[in-house]
């Protein structure tokens, strides 16, 4: 019986230690709030889509420009479409674009940064000068250029946002790699006769994922807002596709009479945006708590 007690104690030790760490460092209210907001937005999208509550394109001209009510929390637009349903559908699209245009450049940018930072020399020069070249364009102009190449619509936005996000990840990774390269365990790995590939991907990579993950939410937020801005300008998602910027642009001409069409989706975007900011901030704080 006493043995069982000892076993139970050692098994309990691990979760207890975690609980103690959380208590000591604080819950990181911001991080949890941020993650909750994003999860809620994602959850709402899934629920509305799966349960089939309303359709973003179902027109009801008799109920056009209705003010917010229980049936239509965000009111209806000039065609009688439910603005809330449209906003929630738009969330799915916007987050998807944000996610893809963050994950893809994260992976490619990390690899470029790893190689540039590890090998230095001409690889470094070529990679980083190309990245600097991309940075030299104003962000939005670069994306509009790709939209021009691929035609108005989401393809150009996907490609443009991906390429415009590359330099940040590449530079971040390269900088960290330059620091890491001087660490003694990197030298030790080389004296053991490991291949460069093994050293880069097995010994260095795990150290470089964290800073990139910390930066990723802010990049994602930036990209989502850029997509909204482009759609607002008529360069991104095309009507009738529900997209945040497009919805806001739709309501613009009714701003004085039916304020909810632009305002409520706008506030929704702000709240989700705050969710991303809090998440990024919270992750950064976590990282500092760990290393400092």
């Amino acid at each position: 019986m006493s043995t069982a007690a000892v076993v139970a104690e050692t098994e309990l030790a691990a979760p207890l230690a975690v609980a103690r760490t959380v208590r000591r460092r604080g819950l990181g209210i911001g991080l949890w709030l941020g993650i909750s907001i994003i999860s809620l937005a994602v959850l709402a999208t899934i629920v509305v889509k799966v349960a089939g509550i309303g359709h973003p394109d179902s027109v009801n001209l008799l109920g056009a420009l209705a003010s917010p009510s229980l049936a239509h929390p965000f009111g209806t637009d000039a065609l009688g479409r439910d603005v809330f349903v449209r906003t929630v559908y738009a969330t799915g699209l916007d987050l998807q674009v944000g996610f893809v245009t963050t994950l893809v450049p994260l992976v490619i940018g990390m690899v470029l940064g790893l190689l540039a930072g590890f090998f230095g020399g001409w690889i470094d020069v070529i990679v980083m000068r190309v990245m600097d070249g991309l940075l030299a364009f104003p962000f939005i102009v670069l994306i509009i250029a790709f939209v021009t190449i691929f035609g108005v619509g989401l393809t150009g936005v996907y490609v443009g946002l991906t390429i415009a996000s590359l330099p940040a990840f590449a530079r971040l990774t390269r900088g960290e790699m330059l620091v890491l390269r001087e660490q003694q365990f990197m030298m030790a790995a080389r004296t053991l006769g490991y291949s460069n590939r093994r050293i880069i991907f097995r010994h260095a990579l795990p150290h470089l994922i964290r800073p990139n993950l910390v930066y990723a939410p802010s990049n994602m937020l930036g990209n989502v807002l850029t997509l909204a801005a482009l759609s607002y300008l008529g360069l991104g998602a095309q009507p009738p596709t529900p997209e945040w910027g497009a919805i806001i642009a739709d309501g613009q001409s009714y701003l004085l009479t039916s304020w909810w069409i632009s305002t409520l989706p706008g506030l929704f975007v702000v709240v989700v945006g705050i969710g991303f900011s809090l998440t990024g901030e919270g992750l950064a704080e976590r990282l500092r708590a760990r290393t400092g």
Partner: protein, 344 residues
């Protein structure tokens, strides 16, 4: 009798010898020679100590041996013979890493990767370099950890470096270094970052492992006490040159080069009440080496000819000071006065 003979013979043949090694770093004020015409050898089962002040080229020499001179430095001349095979370029030397040469570093706190468990790091060497299976590597890793004196090695396999003390980390590092049974172990101040009792244990461990496997050790240190304890041959370095080399007994008993004598005199003695003597001045800046003997500005026995001697030729001999036999009678005070004159 015959096997005896063959062992003695193979023991006398150097397992590693360095010939005329020069390492240069391009700098803003011209080329800096971090290692000049370095020449030494170590025989099978031998321990060679390399001593000298900070910045005298010890570590650079060691790194050059495995082709790891930090950029922008490079090996401009010289060769390394390992088991009778000659290696010259950094690329050739890089191929020696692991199976022929491996290295233990000064700071065990940062020479293990903090994100991997120590068991994984030791097994990785075996799997990558010797092609062990996952299971066999694990068993061998436990065996290795046991050999380097880690208690409960099987349990320790899943520990991370930050969970171990400095001495334990150094043991893990040594386990990784000996995993491929290298012919020569390069140890770059392996005990400097450890406290004195741990230093002793690590040195004992190195000697025991050497005894078991017959590998040679090149030990870089600035601690003469360590040298005296474990080495059987010594190379003394100053400003990138090997200024004196020989057996430990000869060097301790009758050091020839004035720099070696200075080092010996600077060692604190427990049994006397006199303070250790200091070598006046600072080691020279390698970018602006004085002509002739680099030690001349600090040498208590400096002569006028010292600025005209050819170091590259003198480093071929066991003592790089041509006047070492006839120095004893120069008064020390006069030597210092001259040294200050030369420095100014």
């Amino acid at each position: 009798m015959t096997p005896m003979d063959s062992t003695t013979q193979s023991d006398d043949v150097p397992i590693l010898s360095v010939e005329g090694l020069c390492v240069e770093f391009p700098g803003e004020h011209g080329v800096v020679r971090a290692a000049s015409n370095v020449r030494f050898s170590v025989r099978r089962g031998g321990v060679l100590g390399v001593v000298g002040e900070s910045g005298c080229g010890k570590s650079v020499t060691l790194r050059a041996l495995c082709g790891l001179v930090p950029a922008p430095g490079r090996v401009v001349a010289g060769s390394v013979d390992v088991e009778g095979v000659r290696y010259q370029s950094a690329r050739e030397l890089a191929g020696l890493r692991g199976e022929k040469l491996s290295m233990v570093f000064q700071d065990p706190a940062s020479s293990l990767n903090p994100v991997h468990a120590i068991g994984a790091q030791v097994s990785e060497v075996l799997r990558v370099k010797l092609g062990y299976s996952r299971k066999a590597a694990r068993a061998e890793a436990i065996e290795l950890l046991d050999r380097v004196g880690i208690p409960e090695p099987a349990r320790r396999m899943s520990s991370y470096p930050h969970e171990l003390s400095g001495g334990m980390r150094q043991r893990v590092m040594i386990a990784m270094a000996i995993a491929c049974r290298p012919r020569v172990l390069l140890a770059d101040e392996p005990t400097t970052a450890l406290d004195v009792t741990t230093q002793e244990q690590i040195l004992r461990l190195l000697l025991r492992l050497q005894d078991e496997s017959g590998m040679a050790i090149i030990l870089v240190t600035h601690d003469l006490g360590v040298i005296e304890e474990v080495c059987d041959e010594v190379a003394v370095m100053y400003a990138g040159y090997v200024v004196e080399r020989g057996s430990i007994d000869r060097l301790i008993g009758s050091p020839k080069h004035p720099y070696t004598r200075g080092l010996m005199a600077a060692m604190p003695q427990i049994d006397t009440r006199s303070l250790p003597e200091v070598i006046v001045g600072q080691p020279p800046d390698l970018a602006t080496l004085p002509p002739g003997c680099p030690f001349a500005p600090r040498c208590p026995q400096v002569r006028e000819e010292c600025v005209r001697i050819e170091m590259d030729e003198l480093t071929l001999t066991d003592c790089a000071c041509p006047f070492s036999e006839a120095t004893g009678d120069v008064p020390v005070a006069a030597g210092i006065a001259q040294a200050e004159g030369a420095g100014a």
